[in-house]
């Protein structure tokens, strides 16, 4: 033990005993984004002995508004490498395990098995349900955090006999009913608040200090600092999962690359070459369209290949941004070697920035 942690070892309710428990603990943080970074910065600072890092994304410009460990120099680099380097510099006593992958039903059980606790810092439902089911199967607790705009959720699931994520939300919502994280904004500091709260719950689970937020969902509204704690019960059948589902919908938020109209307008005024596909109907297209746009109606995407040159980045636009996202999903699957972006807000929004 050294003087590094004196400020917390001097706490009567924590002490050298709490510190020793942290040092022995192994925590997996799934997702190196808005939630995962503050969780890791603080668990690493406080002296958690082993930290598992898992992500496969690269740092993008629109991450910087809330993912505070990344600098402008890190743009385009693998998050996993950047985080690993910075956390090592912060605390050389920590053992880091890097998982250069997303969590999948193939790797989930094998990876999670090696940890005492999982922190769910993902940004999509499929991975959240996968974490839940894997943790139930392996009998591991996990600290849940999730965001929407100015709001956030926190809870600790599967802690001892406590309830699971499925006791609150039995089935995964389908893609149409809840917006995904790209359509949905978030004020930059909200993941900071929720991530630090997750780190605290992780410490409580690992050390036994305080009351773990199990059987309670904390719902936070940043607009008015309103906090509700909703109690809920264990539904026994949700604790009896013995195998993963055959299928967790593979929606990864960050494989739906998008661009805002201001950024796109800047691109248009630059010397960059690109292809712009307008996926609206021929009638809509004829009424008004951007000069450089090529019309490939959504129903007609099969004609895509014949109409474009494949050596440039492809931008996709529609009226409001819904069809362009659908088109992007189809095209990206069909043409994995091309780079696609869809334009957020579509022509409606575009009209507000270009004369």
């Amino acid at each position: 033990m050294n003087s590094r942690y004196i400020r917390q070892t001097s706490l009567r309710d924590f002490g050298e005993n709490g510190q020793a428990k942290l040092f022995k603990a192994k925590v997996l943080v799934v997702g190196l984004g808005g939630l995962g970074l503050p969780v890791l910065q603080y668990l690493n600072a406080m002296g958690v002995g082993t930290l598992g890092l898992m992500d496969q994304d690269v740092v993008e410009m629109h991450n910087l508004q809330r993912q505070v460990l990344y600098t402008e120099k890190d743009l385009g680099k693998l998050k996993l490498e950047v985080v690993h380097n910075k956390l090592t510099a912060q605390n050389s006593q920590t053992t880091f395990k890097t998982h250069d992958t997303f969590l999948t039903k193939e790797n989930a059980l094998k990876v999670i098995e090696k940890y005492d606790l999982v922190v769910d810092a993902t940004d999509n439902f499929p991975t959240r349900y996968l974490i839940n089911d894997a943790c139930v199967i392996l009998n591991k607790p996990f600290v849940y955090g999730a965001l929407h705009g100015f709001e956030g959720h926190i809870s600790v699931f599967n802690y001892n006999n406590g309830p699971t994520y499925r006791c609150l939300y039995p089935e995964m919502p389908n893609a149409e009913e809840i917006p995904n994280c790209n359509e949905n904004g978030v004020l930059g500091v909200i993941p900071g608040i929720m991530g630090t709260l997750q780190a605290l719950e992780a410490v409580k689970v690992l050390t036994g200090v305080g009351e773990v937020l199990s059987g309670k969902l904390m719902v936070y509204n940043g607009l008015n600092q309103f906090v509700s704690k909703i109690s809920f019960k264990t539904i026994p059948e949700n604790k009896k999962i013995t195998r993963l589902q055959d299928f967790y919908e593979p929606v990864e938020c960050d494989v739906i690359p998008s661009i805002g109209v201001n950024a796109f307008q800047t691109l248009r005024q630059s010397k960059e070459k690109y292809t712009l596909i307008d996926v609206r109907t021929t009638e809509e297209f004829d009424q008004s369209h951007l000069n450089e746009a090529i019309n490939v109606p959504l129903d007609n995407l099969d004609n895509f290949e014949r109409q474009i040159s494949t050596d440039k980045e492809v931008y996709i636009i529609c009226q409001s941004g819904k069809r362009s996202e659908l088109a992007l999903k189809h095209l990206q699957t069909a043409y994995p070697n091309l780079t696609f972006y869809h334009i957020l807000g579509g022509m409606n929004k575009m009209m507000t920035v270009c004369p």
Partner: protein, 84 residues
């Protein structure tokens, strides 16, 4: 009865609270259970019907569809959220 709205339900309704009459002057049926409340709200805001997974809290406790509700209860609609 006042209902607190979170997540997508707040976006659908366009407000963070919603008032539900507790006595009917229009002949409309007043909701007496969580299920009836969901139906009542779904008539005014059809988008709410799409939510397959929606937690309803009555007095800060998760409530099943069959639970009865009263005018003095604190009710909140808490849909799942996914961002991170």
């Amino acid at each position: 009865m006042t209902i607190l709205l979170f997540g997508i339900t707040k976006d659908i309704v366009g407000s963070s609270t919603l008032s539900v009459p507790t006595s009917s002057v229009t002949g409309r049926k007043i909701p007496k259970t969580v299920k009836e409340l969901k139906q009542f709200l779904g008539e005014t805001y059809p988008e709410l019907n799409k939510l397959s997974s929606l937690a309803v809290a009555v007095n800060n406790a998760y409530a099943e569809d069959s639970e009865t509700i009263n005018s003095y209860d604190e009710i909140a609609l808490i849909p799942p959220v996914s961002g991170g």
